[in-house]
Amino acid sequence: MTDAPPLEIHDLTVAYHKKPVLWGIDLVVPRGKLVGIVGPNGAGKSTLIKAAMGLMPISSGWVKVFGEPVKKNLTRIGYVPQRESVDWDFPVSVMDVVLMGRYGHLGLLRRPSKQDRDIARESLDKVKMLPYANRQISNLSGGQQQRVFLARALAQESDLYFMDEPFAGVDAATEAAIVELLHELKARGKTLMIVHHDLPTARSYFDMLLLLNMRVVAFGPTNEVFTHDLLQSTYGGRLTILSEVAEAVREKG
């Protein structure tokens, strides 16, 4: 459509109760990249993607999505929140949840059409959850819940995806399935921003890494950014994590 980058953030500052959580974030994410957002707890990883989507008030700076303010391009954004952010006892079926991904494309007063249902069904099929379509969501395992969230994001048919720790607490089979799906989306020209907690796998999963600790420590291709020095300045003096980092870097060398 345009050559505008999927995500452009300039001088973004976000504060919680007057305490800054993110400080002077400048970022231009190129199209068709699989970007991992890593950093210690409290680094503002989730806050960054929420602020980028306009889910929380920002203190200063601006965010543009495909060259437009976020509010104008909401249908081009897909979102996978943290799995624990919702109540899985909620009285809806797997299909109902995936159909929610279509709501952004429907206007007010419009119900999901047959076409929306078809898209939802295809999305479920891609994450191998179609047989569960009519299940109540409380009967799902953690990995299955995450797949449902991914199917919902697929049903959004967006161009820029934000995912908040999609690998947290899932089984190995689901983890592999998610990685495969992310690469497929990337191959279709989608841009993906993934909050990730695990350093060793971050290196193999993502094309680009955003090292975050309240501010952007580094942003670039994984092999350039995943260095001892940069990781150390991201994670600061946290000893346990530092040794983990050392381990990860050694594996790389």
């Binding site: 989507m53 929140p81 109902d96 109540q136």
Partner: protein, 321 residues
């Protein structure tokens, strides 16, 4: 013993209300059903949003709104009362948010502060101005309601046909409007209740849905006031949805079960009231509670009985021989 529990007269309790006394008991039962069903439908969403207590708060906060609306308009007409309730409900909602967000007071405490103070303000306003200016707001009625008086209200006539007593017709309209609103905005209600962050990322304002729901809740509560009062209305908001939660995991089915609960509460309640010669509204709530307890025990999926049997089956048979 007969002094404590009145004699059970089958004809008086079960036959008369549907035969010679149908003209009055029919309206009372219908009113009970409409109030419970409408409150129950809105209540389902309150329960899903873990806002059952907010329903409690709104039902009390509406009182000063009614008093102010009455003072300003000098009438107890439907429109001023609805507007007063609507404004009061929104004010209560804003107040709760404000206390919660702008101080270190947590939300449950904020609810406690907002609704008690608004309710107290309402009590003072009614005390000061009740009886002055011709028409009065009856405190008893506001607190406890008087569903038994429903058949005595003037009838609404349409084209020579009797439609029903004013409160019943009004409640019928509110019930229809509630069903219509839920049907029209089902997806917005659903997604903002399940996953507010996703809703906002889809361009659906979770905040707007919240205030709209609170506003409509105020309208529902005030139209239920007259018959069940500010206190029992809380039971009507929570019991049907809570019962439905025990019996189904599908929201549309739960909304259907809510209607069933409302109908059973109204019918069982009116018979209970006739037997014990007590307030029909109170009896309907007691009936609704009994239905809830029955669902709790007998629910086929996760009732106490089912769980007990399952535990028995899974437990190893130790020392059985």
């Amino acid at each position: 013993m007969n002094v404590l529990v009145p004699d059970f007269d089958f004809h008086r309790v079960f036959i008369a209300p549907w035969t010679e006394n149908l003209a009055s008991f029919g309206w009372i039962t219908l009113m009970g059903f409409l109030v419970t069903a409408t409150c129950g439908w809105v209540g389902n969403f309150l329960i899903l949003r873990r806002m059952a207590l907010v329903g409690d708060a709104i039902s009390h906060s509406v009182l000063p709104g009614l008093a102010v609306a009455f003072l300003l308009s000098q009438s107890r007409g439907t429109l001023p009362m609805f507007l007063g309730a609507l404004v009061a409900g929104i004010v209560a909602t804003v107040l709760i948010e404000l206390i919660h967000k702008k101080s270190r007071v947590k939300q449950d405490a904020a609810i406690g502060i907002a609704f008690t103070s608004l309710f107290a303000l309402g009590v003072i306003l009614i005390n000061l101005y009740a009886g002055k200016g011709g028409v009065d707001l009856d405190q008893e009625c506001v607190l406890y309601g008087e569903i038994a008086f429903v058949p005595l209200e003037p009838m609404v006539m349409v084209g020579g046909q009797i439609l029903g007593p004013i409160p019943v017709v009004r409640m019928g309209f509110v019930a229809l409007a509630t069903a219509l609103l839920i049907a029209l905005f089902y997806k917005e209600l659903l997604v903002s209740s399940f996953d507010p962050a996703l809703a906002v990322s889809l361009g659906i304002s979770a905040t707007f849905v919240h205030y709209a729901l609170m506003g409509w809740l105020s309208v529902v509560v005030v139209s239920a006031f007259e018959s069940v009062g500010a206190i029992l209305v809380i039971a009507m908001l929570i019991l049907p949805g809570a019962t439905a939660t025990l019996l189904s995991h599908r929201l549309p089915v739960m909304l259907g079960l809510t209607l069933l609960h409302a109908a059973l509460s109204a019918v069982l309640g009116i018979h209970l009231a006739l037997w014990l010669d007590c307030s029909p509204a109170g009896a309907m709530v007691v009936a609704g509670t009994l239905i809830f307890v029955a669902a709790w025990i007998f629910s086929p999926s996760e009732g106490l009985l089912r769980r007990w049997f399952r535990a028995r089956l899974e437990a190893p048979a130790v020392g059985s021989s």
